[in-house]
Symmetry: C2
Subunit: 635 residues, 2 copies
């Protein structure tokens, strides 16, 4: 875990504990050894979840924990260090749940003096938490309950009389326990969207957490960090790839993703439902009709956030200059549902932000329902009269509202694709594009074979932020420090299990540390994984090599995996939707996911028992997780 | 599994399936081989639960199933064949949940033509199910929502215009998802009380199931069955033990249970809280002040149900001639909470019936809270001003109401002892007298060492209906057919693991078959386990020996066990509350439970891996559960 410097920096070493059932608040000191072992973020929070939430605790259970955590770089001058992560047992998967969010809330919490907040219990009535440095209060939130995510954020800033307050909150979807409700931040601009952590906030009757802090974050080697960041910023300022990403943001990926078959449409089955025209919503092109600018998160020279205007016509927003469409939203809510009207799409995206609902799972769930409707598995009678055809933007707007308020058919879809398919029956499960209950993000693993074992084995299901190898396969980015030299063929299978394992471990380190994952796509242009380990070393005082970082990532990946297996996850869950295994993707050279060929290698590389998908006792001991080895294998 | 006759009798071979989310109803035919393998009751229902409810499905989840099932003897002329069993994933334990209820509802369902009803999904608004032979309807229940269990039962009979209708329903506790809410029947007279199956009914927004049927139940050898029952009834009529049980009912056990230390007081720690006087509520004695008669269930010559008068004074009931106190109620709500006023106890018991709340878990949870209060772990501030001392009947009445309506501190206790202890923290877990989240029934295993491994390994936690060896140890009843000849010393440990295993398998057969468990305490006086296997053989046409019955019991026990292990239960859950392992029970000769000495033998006898408490692959295969072996051990 890296050699040790004198002082452990990067951490405030304080956990804020809040028992919402009893209205009690206390501060717990963190132990250096614990922090060094699990690193921060969903590493330390993950170990707390593992220890404090046994399998019999349900997601919607006062004994579930909801953790808001930061990493060691969060709130320092490190580039892209603006993130926080929510951690809980997920109501969508039933397994480990985490979600990450940019903006400014994470750094503010760190400046207030805390590495994380752990919520216990469930408030007897709606409350919010007000964290003003040492002054922490649970306050009545009845006046805010029911407000959308933008409104409550602004109302809290106004009522608390400080525009610099940072707010994390839920909209009505979280209040109504929609299983894919998001935690929203920055006036509905950023989201910890996935795995339904917003629903857990709703179950705990916690409408918002308002934070203000002004303490310095301790850094072990501040001068060294300044020097490193100066160097990196110099490259950022002029690098063509950086400036182009600032211009185009994530939507700039849509056209190239479409080209190689990575970008999906019509519930991942575009060939079945006609020729979708990607140009209708792509960038540059029609997308520019709604794009009016960009915005930054905390300490980020890229500033890739998209800002939208109000648009025009029947789908005109109530106000402009709001958070705009990103790649995942435009694909999942747009092409995946067959939507070609950019104004409608802009409206749908804004509604998701206001409702506080995950755009990826919402798009996945609605596309699933649309396919069931088109195939006659459900009828207009089931959908409360909504003509839920692909491409019907009005239907999408109406069903989104019904999901958020759990009305009629929306009450069924609010349970997410997997449960909805179970309830509907009648063969619907075949069209449920989900893994471990979590709707797939907008990356089709038929386009790159490393995506097979990766997606099948992600800890959090259909997720694109745990190490999706699309960046190494079609896009051939070299990571020479760990033996990735580029030039990989996305359709070969040999070595792809190893590829997935390597990127997962690396991204786990990035997530734990507290960086934005996009920075790993940007910083690569200035070349080195050591840019991260050097910053991590300067912040913490631990002398991290890339190998150390990979080991930390592997430890935390296996810790989260162990949580899943303790909570009933099995080998059978390591699979993909039938469609991706059997129906060829034309745009990806008529390929399917060859999981049978890649999964055995993945298990081997991971040191997991191939029959049980369980980390072996030896592997867990190698990672210093001896007590977890006893839990999983017996003493 | 017994040799086969020509026609499989005892089963209607029809499952009624009801999807409450979509309002759809269908009938599924049952397969003979399936019925023969799992027997009925929580055998067949358990297999359905195992197959249809994977680990990621939560108890409060539309994808949880709620099953109302009967056994093959249910509704025939077999003595004590009046029971039905509710099955689901339990909201109290998080594992396999079942509860059994006498009365007349089970036979009525069978007469309507169904072996069981399986509920899927969750109704969008309160409904009830009306089963009138083939005519089955989901009906609006808004007019009944909020009614107590007695009122809704009477209202449905009146509104449907037929007094012979049998109703299973929930009271307000089930509606409010109290984790130990009961399913009530027979005008709040009988309960499927344990494991919170009433809360699942509440979650599904299913207020009641009204049933009327008039079809004969098919019996393979009706003449033979008549002959057998004639013989048994003859013995019943005159046997002193039967007539005395009719007179005293279960409360007659209180005095002898107290004597040997089996009957508990003060949260299982009477020595800590003063000398409790058991005579104050015992029978004969003060108990007679509230007892006014007895009543029978379907086809039972014993008629042990207690009927209470309204009592007198401040605790007088609104009406008399209601279901009275049984042993478990008088102990758990009474002595376990230090209550000595028989009128108050009668009132508390009646309130539990009206609210639709399990008396055992309610008593256990309240006693736990009382001890926390006495010890200063919680204060009057936490209890909303209630002086929650042991013996305070008014406090018990008030906290019961608060639990039922989830008000204030009641909202925390409504989660059950285990969760409440977790929420309260501060060392409270030490006083949580629960196993696998389920409060212990009124049998103290310090009084008989077979109770140690049995209680520690029950599928449904602190349960007294899975094979509690108190009947074999202090009471020395012989079961010579399986080598139990009586004369056992309750405080030796050798052979006690085997004892527990044998009785569990036998009771599992009794439960699956559809008999009342008390009959196994009554029929023993006329001598033979073969009385059961002969009746089973006559009803089904399968030629069952005692060995066959034990094997069926063992199969079903392991099936339910497998469900638990798939859903995250571990070896660590096979334990007892610290108090029972460490604090001597004076009335039981200063003994503690010597679990370390008995558990290894139990695992050996069961064929379970002692490090994991997991049935071995070989044991599962021996029982014909090969696919489950693959699930638990990998392919």
């Amino acid at each position: 875990m890296g050699k040790e410097g004198k002082v452990l920096g990067g951490y405030t070493k304080k956990i804020l504990r809040v028992n919402l059932s009893l209205g009690k608040i206390w501060v717990e000191e963190e132990n250096d050894e614990f922090l060094k072992k699990y690193g921060g973020g969903y590493g330390t929070a993950g170990r707390i979840l593992y220890d404090e939430v046994p399998p019999w605790v349900e997601p919607f259970d006062p004994e579930n924990r909801l953790i808001f955590t930061t990493g060691p770089v969060t709130g320092t001058i490190t580039q892209t260090a603006g993130r926080f992560t929510t951690v809980c047992k997920s109501p969508l998967s039933g397994y480990f749940g985490d979600s990450s969010c940019g903006g400014f809330w994470g750094p503010e919490l760190k400046l207030a003096g805390y590495d994380m907040i752990v919520f216990h219990g469930r408030a007897p009535k709606p409350v919010y938490l007000w964290v003003n440095n040492e002054q922490v209060e649970i306050r009545d939130a009845s006046a805010y309950w029911g407000m959308d995510a933008r409104k409550v954020d602004r109302a809290l800033k106004s009522d608390l009389g400080d525009k610099k307050i940072q707010v994390a909150c839920i909209g009505p979807a979280g209040e109504n326990l929609v299983r894919f409700a998001a935690v929203m931040h920055d006036e509905a601009g950023r989201a910890a969207g996935r795995l339904g952590t917003g629903a857990i906030m709703g179950h705990k009757q916690l409408k918002a957490i308002a934070v203000r802090g002004n303490k310095p974050v301790p850094v072990a080697e501040p001068d060294r960090l300044k020097e490193l960041m100066k160097e990196i910023s110099k490259h950022y300022a002029k690098h063509e790839e950086v400036t182009s990403f600032r211009r185009g943001g994530t939507p700039s990926y849509f056209a190239s993703g479409w080209e190689i078959g990575d970008t999906n449409s019509y519930n991942f089955a575009d060939e079945n439902w006609g020729e979708y025209d990607p140009k209708a919503i792509s960038w540059p092109g029609n997308f520019d009709k709604v794009l009016v600018g960009n915005r930054t998160c905390y300490v980020c020279a890229v500033a890739c956030r998209r800002i939208s205007g109000a648009g025009e016509g029947e789908y005109k927003l109530d106000e402009g200059n709001v958070e705009g469409l990103e790649y995942e939203n435009m694909t999942m809510l747009g092409s995946n549902c067959g939507i070609t009207d950019i104004y409608a799409l802009n409206k749908i995206n804004d509604l998701c932000n206001l409702y506080g609902i995950d755009t990826i799972s919402a798009g996945g769930t609605i596309a699933f329902a649309m396919e069931c409707y088109e195939r006659g598995i459900i009828s207009k009678e089931d959908t409360d009269g909504i003509d839920l055809r692909f491409g019907n933007a009005d239907a999408e707007i109406e069903i989104l509202r019904k999901i958020t308020y759990r009305e009629g058919f929306g009450n069924i879809l609010a349970e997410g694709t997997r449960r909805a398919a179970g309830i509907i029956g009648n063969g619907a499960m075949k069209y449920a594009i989900q893994i471990k209950g979590v709707e797939l993000a907008a990356h089709d693993p038929r386009a790159f074979q490393g995506g097979g074992p990766h997606y099948a084995c992600t800890i959090t299901g259909g997720r694109h932020t745990e190490g999706i190898t699309v960046i190494w396969e079609p896009f051939k980015i070299p990571y020479p420090e760990i033996g990735i030299y580029g030039g990989l063929d996305p359709q070969t299978t040999e070595g792809k299990g190893r590829l997935a394992k390597l990127l997962e471990d690396w991204w786990c380190f990035i997530n734990v540390g507290g960086w934005c994952l996009f920075s790993s796509d940007i910083l690569r242009y200035i070349g080195k994984m050591t840019n991260y380990t050097d910053a991590f070393s300067a912040v913490t005082g631990l002398k991290y090599t890339v190998e150390d970082a990979m080991k930390l990532g592997e430890r935390v990946f296996n810790l989260r995996k162990a949580f899943n297996m303790r909570h009933g996850c099995t080998r059978e869950e390591d699979t993909l939707p039938e469609r991706l295994l059997k129906e060829p993707n034309k745009r990806a050279g008529n390929s399917v996911v060859k999981l049978d060929e890649t999964l055995p290698e993945y298990y081997r590389e991971r040191g997991w028992d191939p029959n049980k998908s369980l980390p072996t006792r030896e592997k867990l001991r190698e990672l210093g997780l001896n007590d977890i080895a006893d839990d999983l294998w017996g003493k």
